[in-house]
Amino acid sequence: QTVGPAGEAATPSAVVALTDADLAALKDKGYKAALLWHTSSDFVNAVTAGAKDEFARAGVEVVVTTDAGFDAARQRSDIETALAAKPNVILALPLDPVTSAEAFRQAVTDGTKLVFLSNVPSGYKHGTDYAAIVTDDLFQMGKQAADALAKSIGGKGKVGWIFHDATYYVTNQRDNAFKTTIEKDYPDIKIVAQQGITDPARAEELASAMLLQNPDLDGIYVTWAEPADGVLAALRAAGNTKTKIVTLDLAEPVGLDMVKGGAVVALVADKAYELGRAMAAAGLKSLLGQDAPAFVVAPALTVTKANVADGWKESLNRDAPQSILDALK
């Protein structure tokens, strides 16, 4: 069971919702919001979209959006810069608990309502320092990926594990959950090869080497969808039609491969749009002086060929790409 940093129980994200009265109370106050992300990606875009839509309902303008490029120093600068625009709410993903502790201090001092995605600066207190943490269920994502891969290979065999070899809370949690699940729940599955990756562009190289040394792999876990494109290329180059792949995040090329019955057997995703919406709602509640729940969780989704259309909608709040819908027909 996923719990918050201080052991708080998880509140389902759907519970965090603004009433019409809330919305009315927020309108025309001239509130402003800032979105201080760690990076840019399709995932971040979906979170942003969820947040922006929710903010728009309350008449709150998003005045600043930043991308720290996984650079802790840059994130600190972004926060300072954003504060010059005097936002009332900040939604952010702290790069890591240690480096972001000092970085967000000024925002706390300025009285800005902080809603964090996924993790929290160390030593921060709910209520006084920040309004809420909203997270995808990172453990569940890793676990469901393990379950999906295990299922596709019949609960036994050899798998490879390609993990994100960098300190990033989100991927680290998910990667480790996959590994733990395989080790604990699937005694007949062995992780026989593991490789860290930092640059998705090198995934093909890495997977090729892995397949060269372990031609009989039954499955490969890839830390997220972009490097999975490279792993697929490596499988094609090796003429391998046996090895199954699971990865995280929804993306069109891997989705298409899955729908066409390729190597990809499942994509585990979070409800990115919902995360954004819930973050905005939590921040706004806090602005109204209401208590936002300390620890809000949006569930993980296992997307397979069977539920791909719904999965896309649920995760990213948009229709699955036409190519995938076409391939389903």
């Binding site: 399709d42 093909e204 060269l212 090329p253």
Partner: protein, 329 residues
């Protein structure tokens, strides 16, 4: 009148000298580093699959896009300029091709992809040659600019490339049993080498980089040469983008992002001067293969990412020390 009918004095030149001038040993010293690394891995990794045909082919395939970008950079550096933007060009071209192909088919995709590259090269070239701005800053600016364009073009999403003619031709197919990426590499290197070494244009590029005033008083339009080399760089980067797209059967804004340093290193290791006037297309190929071999070998050694970085640094230093020591006079 003195006894001076012999303008070219063979007297002072020994027979060995004549031979050595013709073979020009110095020029081949660059390849010693390559050989040293190859032998190192062949010994250390003899049981880990390094020397298998498949692995060596993999190295060729994986380095194909970088090699092709490197050829463009040989022209750019030889002309005394630099291009930092080719990585962004890769992404723009791949994305534009992928998007265009979806609607208008393969021919449109190829034309538009390559067209984007040439256009970016043209913009860089005009700013460098006619507005007389330093190419470092111009291409630093356009690198960011077109990376931004690549991002907003597709909202940070990955685009699948499904046209099998295209993916066969540019990525995973083979012709006469030889993978198409190998064909592309051989073709690009051969054409690049001939243009560089055997045409007036190549001679003019070298003269421009060596002494632009001398070139210009010799009737060479150095401005046009500068535009041309930037366009070559843009064009081959676009081709590399198509190869990536074909190989990965997908295009994303991150393509090419991490190639900058590898490609520059490959070119310089291959004996091209950073300051112009001297270079080698074949050297760039060897440099690129060397970088690819290094990455491949280090992965096969089973090192962690951190250790790979450390060992790669050490090996590059050693390889450079055998080959590129400045000739003491």
């Amino acid at each position: 009148m003195p006894q001076s009918s012999n303008g070219v004095a063979p007297a002072a030149v020994t027979p060995f000298a004549r031979l050595s001038r013709r073979i020009n040993f110095q020029q081949y010293v660059v390849y010693l580093g390559f050989l040293a690394i190859f032998l190192f891995f062949a010994l250390v990794l003899k049981d880990s699959g390094f020397l298998t045909v498949r692995n060596l082919t993999n190295i060729m395939l994986q380095t194909a896009p970088a090699t092709i970008m490197a050829i463009g950079l040989v022209f750019v550096l030889s002309a005394g300029e630099i291009d930092l933007s080719f990585g962004s060009t890769v992404a723009v071209a791949a994305l534009a091709a992928a998007v265009a192909m979806e609607t208008y088919g393969i021919a449109a995709g190829i034309v538009i992809g390559l067209g984007c590259g040439l256009l970016i090269g043209l913009i860089n070239g005009l700013l460098v040659a006619y507005v007389r701005l330093p190419s470092f800053l111009v291409t630093l600016a356009t690198m960011g600019l077109f990376a931004g364009v690549a991002r907003s073009l597709t909202d940070l999403r990955s685009i699948p490339v499904t046209n099998s003619t295209f993916t066969g031709f540019f990525g995973s197919g083979s012709i006469l049993g030889i993978p198409s990426l190998v064909w592309w590499t051989v073709l690009a290197v051969a054409i690049g080498h001939i243009i560089y070494r055997e045409t007036r244009f190549g001679a003019h590029v070298l003269a421009t980089g060596d002494n632009s005033r001398a070139a210009s008083v010799s009737g060479i339009s150095v401005a046009r040469i500068r535009v041309a080399v930037m366009m070559i760089s843009g064009g081959v980067a676009a081709l590399a983008g198509l190869l990536y797209a074909g190989r990965l059967q997908a295009a994303k804004y991150t393509l090419g992002e991490s190639d900058l340093m590898t490609v520059i290193a490959a070119v310089i290791v291959g004996g091209t001067l950073l300051n112009g006037g001297k270079g080698s297309v074949i050297g760039a190929l060897v440099g690129s293969l060397m970088m690819g071999m290094l990455n491949n070998g280090l992965i096969l050694m089973g090192l962690s990412v951190s250790d790979q970085m450390i060992v790669r640094g050490l090996i590059i230093l050693a390889a450079v020390a055998v080959s590129l020591r400045e000739k003491a006079r």
